[in-house]
Amino acid sequence: MSLLKVKDLVTGLASGLAIVDGISFEIAAGETFALLGESGCGKSMTALSLMRLLPDGVANLSGDVVLGGVSLFDLPERLMRGIRGGSMAMIFQEPGLSLNPVMTVGAQIIEVLALHQGLSGALALQRCVELLAGVGIPDAAWRVNEYPFQLSGGMKQRVMIAMALAGKPRLLVADEPTTALDVTIQAQVLQLLRDTQASTGMAMLLITHDLGVVAETAHRVGVMYAGQIVEQASRQELFSRPLHPYTQKLFAALPQAGLRDQPLAAIPGSVPPLGSIVQGCRFAPRCDRAWSLCREQTPAWITLSEGEGVRCHLYDRIEDGGFRIEEKTPKLQDVAKPNPILNPESCILKVQDLQVHFPIRKGILQRVVGQVKAVDGVSLAIAKGKTLAIVGESGCGKTTLGKALLQLIPPTGGRVVFDGRALGARASMQMVFQDPYASLNPKMRVAEILEEGMSALKVGANSAARQAHIDGLLDKVGLERAAKWRYPHEFSGGQRQRIAIARALAVSPGLLICDEPTSALDVSVQAQILNLLKSLQQELNLSYLFITHNLAVVAYLAHEVCVMYLGRIVERGSTDDVMNHPAHPYTQALLSAVPRIDEGAREYIRLAGDLPSPANPPAGCHFAPRCPCVQDICREHYPNAVNVSESHVVHCHFQSISVDGMTALD
């Protein structure tokens, strides 16, 4: 017996344009159903339709939603309010925005308790503390009186979950619950959701774009594309035998270490805009297996077995579904194997002991009382034509490091040598930013954006030469030449990121600092950009400093990896060394926290607590308070660099002991 039944749900604009176009699914109690898809597919609209919380101008046009035998669309608003937060609760993507900043977290949870459980006073407070303790918040009795700004991102999301659980819901709708969180925190939150589900037996609708999260959490999966569910299957079935070409493409587009020497199977183009495809399969324009029928006739839903099916013409007659499509991925021209030992002469960038400190001022006289050591003595080197990845959680100082190298933030100390000279020439180093929507001035045309750097740095003799250069750049990044007369808002996220890359390349830099260039993009578009970066590197012999938190991208793209923790590099080595034989406990925990799609069970190293404040780093090894194998020495002395192998350096007492031990044995 299913708890939630959604049948032919259509949600759209009042004009009849459907955002969610006839989706049906069921969720049983104790089951997790994941809606998977790229942005703009209508996943969040589906969730809001269920809650009947649609924004103005959007309405449920037809269909039926039955929760525990009650049809939600027939209920008057008064009764619906009892259902929301009561039998059905929702947690949102951005925990920072979903909590009221002027109310204590306790007051916000007690509000829910008073509404749905009729509790008040000491009883409510007691239940509130129980709930907070239940979601793993330490010192719950004390945290009740804290305001949201006093909590970290992971804590806030726990509070959100506690609030959602306060009404004892039978269905929990989680809309991208971990997208805004770091991997280690994400692993904690997903574990919490699984544990809660196991103890309460509630059903869960999980909305995500992350295949890894689906693999870790979901029992059954619905893949959404352009407002429709194109494939529905159990998790095992979907991951072992994806049927729809879109699903197959999504898997193929994931960057992996094993695909290093070949381009990713990117899906060309992007999700079609609302209402642009009325006839035929919505995926047909991006599908390499589409034939004429796909463009003429809308594929029907083909039920393969109970709760499983696909919407694709490929399976019109073939009921056994044994139709596995092999990806044809062209091999790149022979790639030089990464040289494990850096030749000091070939280094394009050498950084020694770079420090960026921000003073903390206090009091009437604004005296400096301390320093936020955002970057605290970082040394690194990048070889010509190679990629160095900087990995770390948010707040570890990796973006500050990138900006300090570009002199956007004045460094406090240290030495940066670029191409044999001290830093100065701007053209030789450029940056690609994280958010392609914020990094292009909306009031300037593409040609003006690209020309700005050239004219500032006097590249190109005259206007005609610059225009010719711009045409060449647009060709290089795979945009039409006509694009230069258009404004940024006319482009999709992936295209904007291409423009941003073209802008950086306009002044022919030797090194590109890429600050999370794909984290704002969908998986399929991310693959396009990664392919572009890789081919540009080969073509122009560029070096990249790749700042990211996405370890899969690192494994795919980087030659060398630095792991940063609290302003310092804790481990450095070639990608193979670090990804396959991590030596630092933090790297090990980071790697184990990444949700994987390939294997079911794995060992997860749970890290306690959050990243400490860089204003007040722990004494001794910064990682000591969270480290699973901490020793006394760790709390007293910061560990020196230890060479694990020629190309692999780590800052850890544990490693130095084992290395010493080994030398002692020798």
Partner: protein, 431 residues
């Protein structure tokens, strides 16, 4: 005839030129045109714009000044095109107060009749209703009706293709104008004031003063607020400290006090140098321009603070950092990246400020530190009405006329400002 360009005229032409350049620039850029299209789609905005443009038309006609040639020399009186068009209104002055549409004065006077007896009666007006043997409500109604019908017909002709709300506005306005024109030919539609001047004429002349106060002031406000606000937000540090200090100090001085002091000083200077001015109009005009200047100096702080805040937000945007990493100069970043991105805020603030400034003029003139007493404005009309209201029987029409005209002007400006703000507000969802 000699064209005369007063200081305020020159500033109005400058402003008009700037508007034309902006219009031409916006026409050529699709992304700039987009929010204006949204303004165009709003019926409220277009109706209030229609009303506003009538006011602006009167104001512009009143801005084209000239002096008439009188056998060899030029007349000392500066006239405007509007004065010429409204010549009958201007020249048909009565002896003193008369009520709207009246045929006789408002107060009884002693006159001698044919038999030589002295009688106290309401004397007939020289011009108002002079074509009639005696007061006739029928004549007023007939003229109003024929004027209104002619107006409606003209309105239908003009507005039959427009959208419904705009069409209705056009017809109503045309009917009102037709009615007024037809009645004003032989009556004083809004009565006359103490010295017998037509109140309708005074009200129409006040429009220019109001518009100039509302728009020319922005010429002073804008460069100050824009440059200082953006510089404070972008450079931070001591630049920010200095600018913040200046505007905090300025906004903590009571602005009326500051304006009164400045205007009185100006008045003394004007009075001690009568040789600077060849006409009375140019003297009154200088005081008007100076008032705009003073109002501008005291009212830039609000916009400056707004722009500083917005720039603080913009300077952290990644496209600014991208420009910085190219080594683009600060001035260029300000002019190419920041100013175009705060333009919508400036526009909204200016349109919203307009009505406030029109009202400020009325208050200042009432207090006696506004425009020159010889200059016709809403403020001087209201100031004059102060004594008339205390009189028995009460003279209400001058105040009512000033009130009505000012209300219409400010209300339509406010409605238009609201529509502009909605169209430019990025936070409003427009799916």
């Amino acid at each position: 005839m000699m064209p005369v360009i007063l200081w305020s005229d020159a500033l109005v032409f400058l402003l008009l030129g700037a508007c034309c350049v902006a219009f031409w620039h916006i026409r050529r850029h699709e992304h700039l045109l987009l929010p204006w299209r949204r303004v165009g789609r709003s019926a409220v905005a277009m109706c209030s714009l229609l009303v506003l443009s009538l006011f602006v038309l009167v104001g512009l006609l009143d801005t084209l000044h000239y002096r008439v040639a009188l056998n060899g020399a030029y007349s000392p009186e500066v006239l405007s095109v509007f004065d010429k068009l409204a010549e009958p209104l201007r020249l048909h002055t009565e002896k003193t107060y008369s009520a709207p549409l009246a045929v006789a004065l408002y107060a009884k006077e002693s006159t001698t009749d044919e038999q030589g007896r002295v009688v106290r009666t309401y004397p007939r007006l020289k011009y108002g209703g002079a074509h009639l043997p005696e007061a006739s409500g029928y004549d007023v109604a007939r003229r109003a009706l024929t004027g209104a019908i002619a107006g409606v017909l003209a309105g239908l002709l003009l507005g039959f293709k427009a959208r419904r709300a705009i069409g209705v506005t056009v017809v109503i306005l045309a009917a009102l104008i037709g009615m007024t024109l037809n009645l004003a030919a032989v009556y004083h539609v809004l009565g006359t004031d103490k010295v017998g001047q037509d109140v309708l004429y005074l009200s129409l002349k006040s429009i220019r003063t109001g518009l100039i106060i509302g728009t020319v002031t922005t010429l002073v406000t804008l460069p100050l607020a824009l440059f200082l606000g953006v510089a404070a937000g972008y450079f931070r540090g001591w630049v920010d400290d200095v600018i913040q200090y200046v505007y905090t100090v300025l906004s903590s001085i009571p602005s009326v006090l500051l304006i009164a002091a400045a205007v009185l000083m100006m008045q003394v200077t004007i009075d001690t140098h009568p040789n600077w001015f060849d006409t009375a109009a140019s003297r009154a005009d200088l005081r008007l321009v100076f008032l705009c200047l003073i109002l501008g100096m005291t009212s830039w702080t609000g916009l400056c603070r707004l722009l500083r805040g917005e720039t603080l937000k913009l300077r952290e945007m990644e496209y600014i950092q991208a420009a910085q990493s190219f080594g683009v100069s600060s001035m260029r970043i300000l002019s190419r990246h920041i100013i175009p991105n705060v333009m919508h805020i400036i526009l909204i603030a200016l349109v919203m400020d307009f009505s406030g400034l029109v009202l400020a003029e009325a208050v200042l003139s009432y207090v006696g530190v506004g425009v020159d007493p010889s200059m016709i404005s809403f403020g001087t009309m209201i100031n004059g009405a102060r004594l008339e209201m205390a009189r028995e029987p009460m003279v209400w029409w001058a105040l009512a006329a000033a009130f009505g005209f000012m209300l219409t002007l400010v209300l339509s400006a406010n409605l238009f400002a609201d529509a502009v703000r909605d169209a430019f507000d990025p936070r409003l969802n427009r799916s």
